[in-house]
């Protein structure tokens, strides 16, 4: 059954090929895209079940034994990230059916979308550092293609900035990987864990830590490396932004979590201190950036940055509780943030603009949308009993238990400012009357379009609600996943078996 670990990237790549070849045919791409996402969802669910029942799962590609070949690994963190990505992939794929114009479909939208998912899933499932780099490349090029698809000036501008800054990340990552290989002679992450644990080279290790923080930090959009994100996320059509918002930065955070628990665990080194500092700065600068915006998508984009800070904070605090908080936060945030973008898309479709000054009246015109926004937005702001509350609770509790009072204070302040921006959107887009009279209700959408808009949003909102009301299974899972990360013996044994240098 080990080959199943390759399916999360094989399915979308296959789907991408079929979708591209059949792009001239009206419905091929659409059907293939949704079907592939459904299949991906099933597979990732199965992987999660396998990991839950039998621990870490491993697949040696080409049957070359670790650490010589490339190993695919699924532990709890990988499994949950895969499942959440597949869920988001499916939700946005359906939403995209109603929002992506025929012209972009002809240019290969569905193909690039599937390739993006392949890159994301590949990153989550690989156990090899260079292979991770390859999946990052797939992700980067597919996201660039999606970003500029349609070729409008604003897209080209955003795309140029996006790709230029991400290439710096590529450069740093490649340098880091090369040097790490020079230091240890291996690229397998489990073997790297063993090698680095006994390595007596503090200078090299610290410099490598910094290199990886910068490389993945650009991907994750931490301060002061996040500029590419607000510079590009408002450019493409909304489904593209939504899937970017949900997944792209989170892959960077995943890579940080993976490397800074497995390769560079906290200890004498410099890594976690640096991470803590940038986490706090990221939280504050991101949320302040949002406070200055008056455009629906830009507010949400800056909030991504701020919440990346929370995720990195959980990693930097380095306790089982904090790391569990980061994992829970990540799952919650992917769902809530993607949903907010989808809602933003529906709101933009109904009112004709994303500028808060030009829109309004949705509270009266589209009460269902208002309720769904309220759930997602207040969850993001950390209000109980929604999912964001538990995420925040775990992080605040762990910071207080470590007597990191400043950290706690900044986290709480960031939460308050998040609420400020969310209530700004609520007051402007929903409560305030629309500047011009007209029909802004959901009723003006065709029933099929309405279903493709509301269906994904409702499902994601239900996930947010259930994470909030019945958090125990998810928190328990996060705690176990965090324990696995902090005590990686099972992971290492599963990958390397009896191999010893």
């Amino acid at each position: 059954m080990s080959w199943i670990l390759a399916l999360p990237f094989l399915i979308p790549i296959l789907a991408a090929m079929v979708a591209y070849l059949g792009r001239k045919h009206e419905n091929t791409g659409r059907l293939v895209s949704v079907f592939s996402c459904l299949l991906l969802f099933g597979v990732t669910l199965l992987i999660l079940a396998m990991v839950e029942s039998g621990g870490v799962r491993v697949a040696q590609m080409g049957n070359w034994s670790a650490p010589f070949g490339i190993t695919l690994v699924a532990d709890r963190l990988s499994a949950i990230m895969l499942l959440v990505s597949a869920t988001i992939g499916l939700a946005v794929a359906i939403f995209g059916l109603a929002e992506i114009d025929r012209e972009r479909e002809l240019l290969g939208y569905h193909c690039f979308y599937q390739l993006l998912l392949a890159g994301v899933c590949g990153s989550f499932v690989t156990g090899d550092l260079f292979n991770l780099y390859v999946w990052f490349e797939v992700m980067l090029i597919a996201s660039f293609a999606l970003l500029v698809l349609g070729n409008t000036p604003v897209q080209l501008d955003g795309g140029t900035k996006y790709v230029a800054m991400n290439l710096v990340s590529t450069l740093l990552m490649l340098t880091g990987i090369g040097l790490l290989y020079g230091l240890t002679g291996t690229l397998n992450m489990a073997e790297l864990h063993r090698e680095l644990a006994v390595m007596d080279a503090p200078v090299a290790m610290d410099l490598l830590r910094v290199l990886f923080i910068c490389a993945f930090g650009i991907k994750a959009a931490i301060f002061p490396l996040f500029f590419w994100l607000p510079a590009s996320y408002h450019a493409p059509p909304l489904p593209v932004t939504a899937v970017f918002a949900g997944l792209l930065t989170k892959v960077g955070v995943y890579a940080l979590i993976r490397t800074f628990t497995l390769l560079f665990p906290a200890g004498d080194g410099f890594g976690h201190e640096l991470l803590l500092a940038v986490a706090l700065l990221t939280m504050v600068t991101g949320v302040l950036g949002a406070a200055a915006q008056y455009e629906f998508r830009k507010i949400l984009s800056f909030h991504i940055v701020s919440q990346i800070g929370f995720l990195v904070l959980g990693l930097a605090l380095n306790s089982p509780l904090a790391l569990a908080g980061a994992i829970f936060y990540m799952v919650h945030n992917i769902v809530a943030k993607t949903n907010l973008f989808l809602i933003c898309g529906t709101a933009g479709r109904l009112t004709g603009s994303y500028e808060l000054r030009e829109i309004g009246g949705l509270y009266r015109a589209a009460p269902i949308l208002a309720a769904l926004f309220f759930i997602a937005a207040f969850s993001l702001a950390g209000f109980p009993p929604l999912s964001g509350f538990w995420a925040k609770f775990l992080l605040i509790k762990s910071s207080l238990e470590q007597a990191a009072y400043w950290v706690c204070a900044i986290a709480l302040l960031t939460g308050l400012l998040t609420l400020f921006s969310m209530s700004k959107i609520w007051a402007e887009a929903f409560w305030k009357p629309h500047p011009a009279a007209g029909d802004y209700s959901l009723g003006k959408l065709r029933p099929s379009v309405r279903a493709m808009h509301l269906g994904p949003i409702v499902v994601l909102a239900l996930i947010t609600l259930s994470l909030g009301l019945l958090p125990e299974p998810f928190i328990e899972f996060s705690l176990l996943a965090a324990r696995d990360l902090l005590e990686p013996a099972e992971y290492v044994t599963a990958v390397l078996g009896t191999y010893a240098k």
Partner: protein, 755 residues
């Protein structure tokens, strides 16, 4: 998606009839439990919720929260009846009832919770639902502003409270409220106690509108009147009060607690009393009197004397009844006449006798006339004030001052709109529908008649609450006639001065205005300035960070990476790197020189094409180095890539939106510095790495297995297509995607142009 209004109105009428049954359910339940709880029994129920964090979804009922829960559900019933009538036909009535129901659930959960986190969740539920209720008239910008203010302020307190509760739970080792109540001594002795206390009090003070957070409450009057009647009499603002009462046995009886509560409460009560007299809008006047009451109660909770506590508890009871009635009365006046401005009202008594009766009864209770409960409460207050050990004169002084002004306000409310010439002059003004006045009538009458059943109240409600709060058995007696003593004299003084103040209202208002003019600003304006400052800070930061210029973004990114690497270097204890000049031959030196020259030229020329060519030279130099160090295949690849790159760039350069060569020399120098620094730290990193002996079992494995296992003589090829075939697969996908993307970009542009 709104249904037509008539339909909504029909559904609304039905809801208006059914909705009051909702709070009636807990009310009936509480009444059945009353007897048993009053005898000192505690009921509790608990469900596991988040066992991995030690959080339970649990509730309990004891003497203290019984009182609060009874008030919430009893007043809830009448507010529900009133709201159905007040908002009849409103298109958003169903949403209103939804929010009100959420709010009721939040309040009941809050006071009944037996787990700190459960309590907090209901606490925030009241915050959210009150946000929606205060902003109910969402078309008005002022309502949105006030809703936001209340939300932000109470959430700010809520977040402090959360931190405080987590610390309290951490200190006590449990989130179980009943267990924590038993560990008061331990908590008070803990080094974290001051932090816990301050954080929790911040939560309570913001919610209960204590100075300097008092301003949100009057602004929250933007809500429809039924909301004000409910939120600001018996419920929302009492949440903070309840919290202080609940945690009194854990956090109370220290000097820090006593001083903080006494002083904050006294300032709040005094300031709000002055502001209340000054107001001419009836609803705002009432709002400020609520703040007075909250300040007074807080002040009394500062003490651990049983008489003071009993006074506070009795006052909570009295205040809830008269304040809910008075809000509803003001709502009726507003509803029937269209104004609640004091100067535009008069002579309504004959037209609206029932309303007048309600106003009068409630006002009597508020002013504390004998023989009603208000009087007993006030006597008790004075007695309690004198019993407070810390600062009896301060408390008594503040209490008397506040009460004098309350007598004045009560007089104004009960008389001013109802006597004299009829204003506004309209023939349409008539008594309200019964469903509007039934609430205030019952509540104010109950408030009055309580005085006649003092033993019942004392033993059934006040005493159990006081006993629970203090954690020790106390006998509470409420008496109408104590004989001639100091409190009675203070009472008489209060009435005398209060009546005088009522009669000389105009000069009094002028005098208070004069007094207030010494304050340079109001808390409300400070709040606005804070928000404005926040926005400005955000603007400045964004302009500084997210300016939109790619070159500057890249500069910051490289600078940050270099600085972080330098920082890591500086932190090292013993940084010793052996730098040996390698023995290179001439051709190797030549290749190196080519690389260096290419780099220098690329960064110094200003024509884009020249820079690209220089980069090409650099690339060729690197390829040569590969060649010389035994990797001919890599060298070939490098050469191919360089050539292709040069051709592609040269072909497309004129179409790229580059602003190359047009920026200041100053910045180019800075960029050069950053580039050199980056190069240096990366070099040091490489040196640090190659100091370690290199051994790779992988290389050995590849060499050993390439031929026998993978059947390939060229090891590099075997690595690419077999050992690490997945990487190659991924890179093929990358190239494929890049080609497709480029094709669509070019094709699309061409088609766009043809059009």
């Amino acid at each position: 998606m709104d249904r037509p209004h008539s339909d909504a109105a029909g559904a609304g009428r039905f809801l208006g009839l059914v909705f009051p049954l909702l709070p009636a359910i807990p009310l009936l339940f509480l009444i059945t439990q009353w007897g048993s709880v009053a005898e000192g029994n505690v009921k509790s129920v608990s469900f596991p919720w988040v066992p991995s964090l030690g959080i339970e979804f649990s509730f309990f009922l004891d003497g203290l929260n019984l009182l609060f829960a009874l008030l919430i559900s009893l007043i809830g019933v009448f507010v529900a009846i009133y709201a159905g009538a007040y908002l009849r036909g409103h298109p958003m009535l169903r949403r209103f009832f939804l929010y009100l129901a959420l709010f009721m659930v939040g309040m009941l959960g809050l006071v009944l919770a037996a787990d700190l986190i459960t309590l907090f969740i209901f606490w925030e539920l009241t915050t959210i639902s009150s946000y929606l209720l205060i902003g109910f008239n969402h078309d008005k910008a002022s309502a949105r502003r006030c809703a936001l203010q209340a939300l932000l302020l109470t959430t700010m307190g809520g977040l402090c409270l959360l931190a405080g509760l987590i610390l309290l739970g951490y200190t006590a080792g449990t989130f179980d409220l009943q267990e924590i109540l038993a560990r008061g001594d331990y908590v008070r002795g803990h080094s974290l106690y001051p932090a816990i206390l301050v954080l929790i009090l911040l939560g309570a003070f913001t919610k209960s509108a204590q100075f300097p957070f008092h301003f949100w409450l009057p602004n929250a009057m933007a809500a429809p009147t039924p909301v004000s009647a409910y939120l600001h009499s018996a419920t929302m603002v009492k949440a903070g009060i309840y919290l202080m009462a609940r945690l009194h046995p854990v956090l109370g009886t220290t000097p820090l607690w006593e001083w903080t509560l006494t002083i904050v409460g006294a300032i709040t009560a005094t300031l709000a009393a002055i502001l209340a007299v000054r107001q001419t809008d009836l609803k705002l006047k009432l709002a400020y009197t609520t703040v007075v009451a909250l300040g007074t109660i807080t002040m009394f909770f500062g003490s651990d004397d049983s008489v003071a506590i009993a006074a506070a508890i009795t006052f909570i009871l009295v205040h809830s009844f008269y304040k809910a009635s008075l809000f509803m009365v003001v709502g009726i006046i507003d509803h029937q006449t269209g104004t609640r401005e004091l100067d535009r009202l008069g002579g309504l008594g004959k037209l609206m006798p029932v309303t007048w009766f309600c106003a009068g009864a409630a006002a009597i209770s508020m002013a504390g006339f004998p023989p009603f409960l208000g009087f007993i409460g006030k006597e008790l207050k004075y007695e309690g004030a004198l019993a407070i050990a810390t600062e009896p004169t301060l408390v008594a002084g503040a209490a008397i001052f506040a009460n004098i002004l309350m007598v004045t306000v009560a007089g104004t409310l009960a008389l001013k709109p109802f006597i004299g010439r009829q204003r506004p002059k309209s023939d349409d003004i008539r008594e309200a529908h019964w469903s509007l006045w039934i609430g205030p009538l019952v509540l104010s009458t109950l408030g009055l008649t309580f005085g006649l059943f003092t033993p019942l109240i004392a033993e059934g409600l006040v005493q159990p609450a006081v006993v629970t709060l203090l954690g020790e058995p106390k006998i509470v007696k409420l008496k109408l006639w104590h004989g001639v003593n100091v409190p009675l004299i203070m009472s008489i003084l209060t009435f005398g001065l209060g009546v005088c103040a009522y009669l000389y209202q105009r000069p009094l208002r002028a005098f208070l205005a004069f007094l207030l003019s010494f304050f340079p600003t109001t808390a409300d304006r400070i709040w606005d300035a804070l928000l404005e400052g926040l926005k400005r800070l955000a603007d400045v930061q964004t302009r500084w960070l997210q300016h939109g210029i790619l070159r500057r973004y890249l500069r910051v990114i490289f600078l940050a990476a270099t600085a972080a690497l330098l920082l890591a270097l500086i932190r090292q204890d013993n940084l010793s790197l052996s730098v040996a000049i390698p023995a290179l031959n001439v051709k190797e030196w030549t290749a190196m020189l080519l690389v260096a020259a290419g780099a220098v030229m690329a960064s110094s020329v200003s024509a884009p094409l020249a820079a690209v060519c220089a980069l090409g030279a650099l690339g060729v130099g690197v390829a040569l180095l590969y060649l010389f160090f035994g990797a001919p295949d890599v060298a070939i690849t490098q050469l191919l890539v360089e050539t292709l790159f040069l051709v592609l760039i040269a072909a497309t350069l004129h179409r790229l939106p580059l602003s190359y060569g047009r920026h200041a020399t100053r910045f180019r120098r800075l960029d050069a510095l950053i580039a050199i620094a980056a190069g240096v730290v990366v070099t040091i990193t490489i040196l640090a790495v190659i100091e370690q002996p290199f051994s790779s079992p992988s290389s050995d494995y590849f060499v050993a297995n390439s031929m026998p296992e993978a059947f390939g003589r060229n090891i590099v090829n075997v690595i690419l297509v077999d050992f690490r075939a997945l990487d190659t697969f991924g890179e093929v996908v990358v190239v494929f995607t890049a080609a497709l993307s480029a094709a669509t970009l070019v094709g699309y542009t061409l088609r766009g142009r043809r059009r």
